[in-house]
């Protein structure tokens, strides 16, 4: 089985709030000087791919779009975790691109890679949380699509996935080729790479393609149907309110206040 895992580099979500800033011109998060990490759910997607590889054998290719100079660590980590090779789409403007533009580039890259049975993406990126790439990519590739997958395994030539749902989970047989968006689960906690595999990762093949070399379908922000007008950092305020009365009255008043605030 050939599996492609799409990974995105984002500014480390664990950074303190004081390091979070929006560029007023590009209306994008400031990345300069901030450590970049693989977006959280993309690591879960990679783990699902590696588990399929461990259980039944597969070739796992990591695919990322980004300024080539800054994607090295993410690729290296993915290769150290166990991916076989990597493809980097060198695109200096990638942090400015939204889901539909990304999906178009990824679709072109997947077609150029050629052989694939599965494409795995995180269910959402840690910065934009659009949840758009996987469904759009499936549409563009004409592949099946299942979202919010927590587990996937091959059984007798078919792919069986577990999809997180409000009322539990759904278990689905999936026709290949397919695009899956992966959510986190106890079963797909990303593995830590061995030290020797960190060293060995530099010997694994990494191809770099310029975006211009890909047959990307035309598109613009307008065509995506999304234009970012404004990005605002919410101001957090705290206010203390003392409820009068005996405990029973206080509980009733608290319940009413929480309903008024639409928190209950």
């Amino acid at each position: 089985m050939d599996i492609i895992v799409c990974v995105k580099q984002v500014v480390d979500p664990e950074l303190p709030l004081r390091d979070f800033a929006i560029d007023p011109v590009t209306r994008r998060q400031v990345r300069e000087g901030r450590p970049l990490v693989i977006s959280t759910y993309d690591e879960n997607a990679l783990e699902v791919a590696l588990q399929i590889k461990d259980r039944s054998g597969a070739k796992v290719t990591v695919l990322t779009i980004g300024p080539q100079a800054r994607v090295g660590d993410a690729i290296r980590l993915a290769l150290a975790m166990g991916a076989d090779d990597a493809v980097v789409i060198d695109e200096s403007k990638s942090p400015d691109l939204l889901g539909a533009d990304k999906a178009r580039i990824l679709a072109a890259a997947v077609r150029r890679i050629g052989r694939y049975d599965l494409v795995l993406c995180g269910c959402e990126s840690a910065d934009w949380v659009e949840r758009a790439v996987a469904p759009l990519l499936a549409e563009m590739l004409g592949a099946s699509c299942v979202t919010f997958v927590s587990r996937a395994e091959t059984a007798g030539g078919t792919l069986v996935v577990r999809r997180t749902a409000d009322d539990g989970f759904h278990e689905l047989d999936v026709r290949l080729p397919a695009v899956l968006s992966v959510t986190s689960d106890d079963a797909n906690r990303p593995r830590l790479p061995k030290v020797k595999d960190i060293v060995g990762a530099k010997r694994k093949p990494v191809q770099t393609w310029a975006r211009a070399d890909l047959a990307v379908e035309s598109g613009s922000h307008e065509a995506s149907g999304v234009e970012v007008r404004e990005v605002v950092v919410p101001q957090r305020t705290a206010k203390c309110e003392l409820l009068p009365g005996d405990p029973a009255e206080q509980v009733a008043a608290l319940g009413q206040r929480l309903r008024d605030l639409k928190l209950l």
Binding site: G72, D73, L192, P193, K194, V195, K196, I198, V199
Partner: protein, 381 residues
């Protein structure tokens, strides 16, 4: 010598920090309170390659350098100093001497198991009557046919209870001091080895510290490590690496103190404001951060020299002296800044305080480090 961390070093640091957050931080207080050996976490550390960091891949290790080792040791000690003690002894005092002085057969027999966590190692130098004056040791090794008969008592052996392989230093030659000593690879399963008194300690409680008694223990001739009479040299060379590992442990403890204190003083309110707003508190933080960084530079420099196969005895002693005294001082400050909360077990700084003290004592006391450093200043010039 400038120390530049490579991408590999930084990635190893990230991975080990995550390992420590997942596997050590949640259990560190419990391990300490029950003096419980962290077997499960050690097995996971071994899977990552942390038990044989500097052992080449050909012998089953991770094939990294001394700089990677200090980075790893600092991260482990940041979470649990006792756990790190177990790991650093296996790496620096057992794997390294075998790698440097062992025969090809010894390397093949022992390194893969040690590096992959199937066996644990310990280092047997100290005796009841020889601590700082280590080369006055009295354990004997007598050749009988193709075997050696080792007899004597070793104390304060880290990993002594659980270890499978002991690097034992014994007097084999009729010569005083270092010249009469040879090193032996003694399996715990050899007849004549037993664990004696197991010590109850102030800190690093999840690692065992035990007496090992060698009572006419028969050691095959092929388990002599290095040449006859070379044991003193091997012991001291191992300590150069060992001291760098302890310096890294001290860095981890000092960093733990700084990080806990920095978080605490920003949320602890007194006199109507966070205590971080008081100048005395801020100066303490600044001093802790500065001393920590200075000690880290010394430690990384010593590690870089050792990685480059250059002499580093003085630099290792300086790193260990500076880092261990920084850890103890930082722990003292941390408990003071936490006040009453620093003295109870609800917060980790009281553990850091107890753990820090050993770094000024084992693998050469601070006084011995000063002696080593001063020899390079006076006797060599």
């Amino acid at each position: 010598m400038a120390v530049v961390l490579t991408n590999e070093h930084r990635m190893i640091q990230t991975v080990v920090r995550e390992f420590a957050a997942r596997e050590l931080l949640p259990i560190a207080a419990d391990l300490d309170q029950h003096s419980r050996f962290p077997g499960e976490a050690l097995a996971k550390a071994a899977t990552l390659g942390l038990m044989g960091l500097m052992v080449p891949e050909a012998y089953g290790g991770a094939g990294m350098d001394t700089i990677a080792n200090v980075i790893v040791q600092e991260e482990l000690a940041r979470a649990c100093a006792g756990f790190q003690t177990i790991v650093t002894v296996n790496n620096s005092l057992v794997c390294e001497p075998i790698l440097r002085y062992g025969t090809e057969d010894q390397k093949r027999r022992y390194l893969p198991d040690l590096a992959q966590g199937r066996r644990l190692g310990c280092y047997c130098l100290t005796e009841p009557t020889s601590g700082s004056d280590a080369m006055a040791l009295r354990t004997t090794a007598t050749q009988r046919g193709s075997e050696w008969i080792v007899s004597g008592t070793k104390i304060f052996v880290t990993n002594g209870v659980e270890a499978d392989l002991c690097v034992v230093y014994a007097r084999s030659e009729d010569a005083p001091g270092a010249r009469g000593i040879s090193a032996f690879l003694v399996e715990k399963a050899f007849p004549g080895v037993r664990v004696g008194k197991v010590e109850k300690k102030l800190g690093i409680k999840c690692s065992s510290t035990a007496e090992l008694v060698f009572d006419g223990c028969r050691v095959p001739g092929g388990n002599l490590l290095g040449r006859r009479g070379e044991g003193g040299k091997i012991a001291l060379a191992a300590l150069d690496g060992g001291r760098i590992g302890i310096a890294a442990q001290a860095l981890g403890i000092a960093r733990a103190c700084l990080e806990e204190v920095t978080a605490y003083v920003q949320q602890r309110q007194q006199f109507g404001r966070p205590i971080a707003e008081f100048q005395a508190v801020r100066w303490a933080l600044a001093d802790m951060a500065t001393r920590l960084e200075a000690a880290r530079l010394l430690t990384h420099r010593a590690a870089a020299l050792r990685a480059a196969e250059q002499p580093c005895t003085k630099e290792a002693a300086m790193a260990k002296l500076a880092a261990s005294e920084t850890a103890m001082w930082a722990a003292h400050k941390a408990v003071q800044l936490f006040g009453g909360y620093g003295y109870i077990q609800d917060y980790p700084v009281e553990r850091y305080f107890r753990d820090a003290k050993i770094t000024e004592i084992y693998e050469g006391t601070s006084e011995i480090q000063r002696l080593v450093i001063s020899r390079h200043l006076v006797d060599h010039h």
